[in-house]
Structure formats: structure tokens, C-alpha cells
């Protein structure tokens, strides 16, 4: 395997999407090559730094509850069309127990 071919496979390798046969060939190349392991490490490091710096801001604690209440209010007509007697009380419960 040449460096050019190896370089084109590094992202798939990092994402765990490379077929086993190609992955084995790339592993062999990485053991012998002076440049490609550094290329792989720098990509790994870039992704790791990005994840560490980009921890997503969570929604406000009341978001799920407010969104659920809005859905309940707006879709009550559709949900009441079932044969169950107490639909409103049943379907609000799953939201309120999963605050993010």
C-alpha cells in the first residue's frame, strides 16, 4: 500500500468503517511508514480537541416539559380520538420523568 492510498483511508479507519481486509493492509502500512502514523495521530487529535472544546449546551431543564405541554395542548383532539378514557394523563408521564 502506498502513502497516497493509505491517506485516503485514514478517515474511514478512524470512523471504524474500513472493511477488515483493508484495515489489516493499512495496519501493516502504518507499521512500516514514517509519515502516515503522524497523519493518523494528528487527525485523531484534531477530532479529540474538537469534542473537548465543543461540549454542547444542554436545553433548559424545563424545555422537555414545556414542549410536551404544548404538544399535549395542540394535539389533544387527535389523541382523544382513541378509545382510552384518560389519554392526557397517560401520555404526559413519559416526558416528566426524563428531564435532561
Amino acid at each position: 500500500m502506498r502513502c497516497e492510498e493509505a491517506g485516503a483511508l485514514l478517515d474511514l479507519y478512524l470512523d471504524g468503517c474500513l472493511p477488515l481486509e483493508l484495515s489489516t493492509k493499512l495496519d501493516r502500512h502504518l507499521l512500516r511508514c514514517a509519515a502516515c502514523p503522524g497523519e493518523l495521530r494528528s487527525l485523531e487529535q484534531t477530532i479529540a480537541l474538537l469534542r473537548e472544546a465543543s461540549s454542547p449546551e444542554q436545553p433548559s431543564p424545563s424545555f422537555r416539559e414545556r414542549a410536551a405541554a404544548r404538544l399535549q395542548s395542540q394535539l389533544a383532539g387527535h389523541l382523544r380520538s382513541t378509545s382510552k378514557d384518560d389519554v392526557g394523563r397517560q401520555w404526559i408521564l413519559p416526558f416528566t420523568g426524563t428531564e435532561g
Partner: protein
């Protein structure tokens, strides 16, 4: 980032999800709650990354679910619920981005003030990484946030980016290299005392 089998839209809806949609269409409230829980984190995260505002992202996510459920409730036949939900979310975000808005700064200063003094290097690094990310094109920023930060499936990211799965992967690979290049430039430009040890280029 994980990859999985795709249907003709690039999105894959599991049989379980399809059954939930059918149950919601029949009026089952618990199915609605399950579908909400299944998708709420990704819908919010996408809107949050694109809009850079928690409040805006919450409003968009709430509205997107309402519209998708309303559409599913009135639809007969196999519902493409996930496709509707993601498409509605994307359009709502784009509409909101077209509106005039105040520019707000990211709360990095607050993070620095709240941190432990021992975390200075980590915070400095995070500030540089965020700056490097902000210097990239909007498309590169979004694909990195969806695929590498949120670790979405390629098919879901492709739908939100309005691209094929293969084009999304290519975009991601170019974006990673662009970020690496920009990071190297920023660290090379930093004063000697602030340069990060062990540069990656």
C-alpha cells in the same frame, strides 16, 4: 461517527420507529412520547449548533415536533416521520437565520472565570479550537459538529446538510483537514509563551 444501511432518502427508519408512528396515527399518546424522546436530543442539538442560541433552538425544536406530529396525524399510509421532522427542523432553522438578529458573543469569558486555575491550559486550548472552528466555512462547521461532536449517523447528517451520504463523508474529511490546518496556523501565530506543546502538524 457510525454508518448504517440507508433507504432511498439516505435515512433509515427502524421497524420499531415505523410501528410507533402507526400507533401515534391511531391516537396512542405513549407512542407520541416515545417518538419525542427518540429524536428530541438530535433535533435540539442540530438547532443549537446552527442557531447558536439555546432559546432559539428550544423554540425551533418545539415547533418542529408540533408540525411533524400534526402532519403525521393527518396522513394516511406509511409516514416518513423522521424525514418530515428533520426537514421541518432544517427549514425552521434556515428561516430563523434569515431573520435580522442581534449578534451575541459566545459565553467563553464566563467559562474562563468559573474554571479552576489549573484548567487554564485546557480552557486556552478550547478557546483556540473554537476560534479555529469559527474560521471555517458554515458547511464545514456544521458537518464537524454533527458528525464528530454529536456523532450522528452519516445518513442523518446528510439529510440535514441536504447532501448525499457520500458527499457528506467527503465534506467531513475535508473539514477535518481544514480544522487541523487552521489550528496549526493559530498555534504557529501564538506568542512563544502561549504556544501549545506538542503541535500536531
Amino acid at each position: 461517527m457510525a454508518f448504517r444501511a440507508e433507504n432511498r432518502h439516505g435515512l433509515s427508519e427502524s421497524p420499531y420507529e415505523a410501528r410507533l408512528v402507526a400507533r401515534f396515527q391511531a391516537g396512542e399518546a405513549e407512542a407520541l412520547a416515545s417518538l419525542f424522546e427518540m429524536h428530541v436530543d438530535r433535533v435540539y442539538a442540530y438547532a443549537r449548533h446552527l442557531l447558536n442560541s439555546r432559546e432559539d433552538a428550544e423554540e425551533v425544536a418545539s415547533e418542529a415536533f408540533l408540525r411533524a406530529f400534526e402532519r403525521a396525524a393527518g396522513y394516511r399510509g406509511d409516514s416518513e416521520f423522521r424525514g418530515w421532522l428533520f426537514g421541518i427542523t432544517r427549514n425552521l432553522c434556515l428561516d430563523r437565520l434569515r431573520q435580522p438578529r442581534l449578534m451575541l458573543l459566545e459565553p467563553e469569558a464566563a467559562e474562563c472565570a468559573a474554571g479552576d486555575p489549573g484548567d487554564t491550559d485546557r480552557i486556552d486550548t478550547a478557546v483556540v479550537v473554537r476560534r479555529a472552528l469559527a474560521d471555517l466555512s458554515d458547511e464545514h462547521q456544521l458537518v464537524l459538529k454533527l458528525c464528530d461532536v454529536e456523532q450522528w449517523d452519516a445518513a442523518d447528517a446528510a439529510f440535514m446538510l441536504d447532501k448525499s451520504v457520500q458527499a457528506t463523508k467527503s465534506l467531513l474529511y475535508r473539514a477535518r483537514r481544514a480544522l487541523r490546518r487552521r489550528l496549526a496556523e493559530l498555534w504557529d501565530d501564538a506568542p512563544r509563551g502561549q504556544a501549545r506543546d506538542g503541535g500536531d502538524e
